[in-house]
């Protein structure tokens, strides 16, 4: 199914090249761009790997002293405007994943039809806008941090889905409101389960609303999907598990400083939650920032078979992090960032550490992570 989308996108791009007068403006029909990050990080915890998300198989700590796996990637982006109403994008990302490779993958490929400037529909591979920075989480240049707070952003492993979405934008005085509804499916690679696996989600739907008033932004989202996580955990075929997420975010950014906070409540066979709060101040080309982020251990819900030991391990993962960092806009379209994280694991889990030996418990452990990155857009 996904291949069909890419075909449509490529066909469209070809159509626009051959029909260069179509948009009626002086803007180029096809634009090429991209972004990237070159990052390195070190963790003081040598008994496990500090990894950003479940798709990254190894990182700093146990596997490597200094590692580039978390914050190094490059992406190329092709956007085409065929007519004022019809457009398409294709984005290919290369980042570290299983097989210890940076093999490029299609992150986004979709066609958009705008009925009016305020009502549009898209089909193809789309971002899932769970959080304020979900759609741009790979684009380090777009935010102050080295990466979004992992306790919160890890709650949503699905970065893209093969879906259809409808967008409606409304302007009331100076307040802008945009609402998005999405339906589709997704498959993502994850290392959360006993072996590297593909987590499939079907009947994925969600509704997301963003209200903007001057420097203030509020984002609320609700989504559901049926996943095969139990099958991946136990190896036994059974019913799909319904996952649901409720996420709320608020941001205030008048220009010279910013403050933001996000919160998520997740339900599958267990219920869990996560939040962060972050603030930064812009002094000329420097933006120092401070973030506190944490997630709570899951509590199992009734009505499901008793959880497996792997299920308990996954649900229990809980940790908190205090991050202090600075972004330096030292060059046009390029920044440098440095971040210090103090991580504390919960009293009954190894947190989100990966590759911890089976007989090792790091419950309650504290360690620090140092990261540096150069982000760029082109």
């Amino acid at each position: 199914m996904a291949i069909g989308y890419y075909f449509i996108a490529l066909l469209g791009i070809f159509a626009c090249i051959t029909n260069a007068e179509a948009t009626g403006t002086d803007q180029p029909m096809v634009t090429f761009g991209g972004f990237g990050s070159l990052g390195v990080s070190h963790s003081s915890m040598g008994l496990g790997d500090y990894v950003l998300d479940s798709g990254i198989p190894s990182g700093p700590g146990r596997s490597e002293d200094w590692s580039t796996t978390n914050d190094t990637r490059i992406a190329a982006h092709l956007a085409a405007q065929f007519t004022p109403k019809l457009s398409a994008v294709l984005q290919v990302d290369s980042e570290f994943h299983s097989g210890n490779s940076y093999q490029p993958e299609v992150e986004f490929a979709n066609v958009k039809y705008a009925f009016t400037p305020n009502v549009s529909i898209r089909a193809g591979r789309l971002a899932l806008p769970t959080f304020l920075e979900s759609e741009n989480r790979d684009i380090g240049y777009t935010y102050a941090w080295i990466h979004p707070p992992i306790e919160v952003y890890r709650q949503e492993p699905i970065t893209h889905s093969d879906s259809v979405d409808v967008n409606y934008r409304l302007q009331i005085g100076e307040v802008g409101n945009s609402i998005k509804a999405i339906y589709g499916r997704s498959t993502i690679e994850t290392n959360d389960f006993p072996t590297t696996s593909n987590l499939s989600s079907k009947h994925l739907w969600g509704i997301f609303d963003t209200v903007e008033n001057g420097p203030a932004t509020i984002h609320v989202g609700y989504q559901e999907r049926d996943t095969d996580s139990e099958y991946l955990l136990t190896g036994q075929t059974g019913t799909l598990v319904k996952d649901s997420d409720l996420s709320v975010g608020a941001q205030y950014d008048p220009g010279d400083w910013f403050a933001m906070s996000e919160w998520i409540q997740r339900k599958s066979t267990y219920k869990t939650g996560a939040m962060y709060i972050s603030a930064g101040y812009r002094v000329k080309k420097f933006t120092p920032y401070l973030t506190y982020s944490q997630n709570s251990p899951g509590s199992f819900l009734s009505g499901f078979p008793p959880p497996s030991s792997n299920g308990i391990r996954l649900a229990n993962r809980s940790q908190s992090t205090v991050s202090l960092g600075v972004r330096w806009d030292f060059m046009k379209d390029t920044d440098f960032k440095f971040q210090f994280d103090q991580v504390k694991l919960s009293d009954n889990s190894n947190g989100f550490l990966a590759n911890v030996p089976a007989n090792v418990s790091l419950y309650g452990a504290k360690f620090h992570v140092i990261s540096a990155v150069v982000d760029f857009v082109f």
């Binding site: 759609e135 777009t142 100076e174």
Partner: protein, 148 residues
């Protein structure tokens, strides 16, 4: 010197420094529409929303087509810092997010005040910003110091 006097002197110095900074901003930016447009005024917030692609029409209806100036020009930096409250790297970050998520594309850019004025004058839906000194009868100032 008494502590109060020291504070007073420090404040004076600070005020002096601030006034120097204001005076050194050479470009005097105004937001314009065509003289043929029915729009007579816009707030900074409404203008910012149009230039960021968050609004595609004027508050009283009618499509709004923003026309930008060249990247790195003093007038552009002045406009975005005063009206949109973003410096050039914040603006690049904003558009990176919009472009790479497929949500939109930045406004068309023209190379000079005169080019923007001509383009705006010829299109009743266009909105642009130019230096105050480049304003003539073909356009109407809707935000910023009115021209005598």
């Amino acid at each position: 010197m008494k502590p109060l006097e020291i504070i007073r002197n420090c404040l004076k110095l600070l005020l002096l420094a601030m006034s120097t900074v204001t005076a050194s901003a050479h470009a005097d930016v105004v937001v314009i529409v065509s003289a043929k447009s029915p729009i007579t005024s816009l707030t900074a917030e409404q203008t910012a929303r149009i230039f960021l692609g968050k609004a595609s029409s004027f508050p009283d209806d009618g499509d709004a087509i923003p026309i930008d100036q060249a990247e790195g020009s003093a007038i552009r930096d002045e406009f975005y810092s005063k009206v949109v409250h973003k410096n050039s790297s914040q603006l690049t970050a904003y558009w990176a997010k919009v472009i790479f998520t497929g949500d939109g594309r930045p406004p068309e850019k023209l190379e000079s005040n005169v080019a923007v004025r001509k383009a705006v004058a010829n299109n009743p839906n266009a909105i642009g910003y130019i230096d105050k000194s480049a304003v003539d009868k073909s356009v109407r100032v809707i935000l910023g110091q009115p021209v005598r």
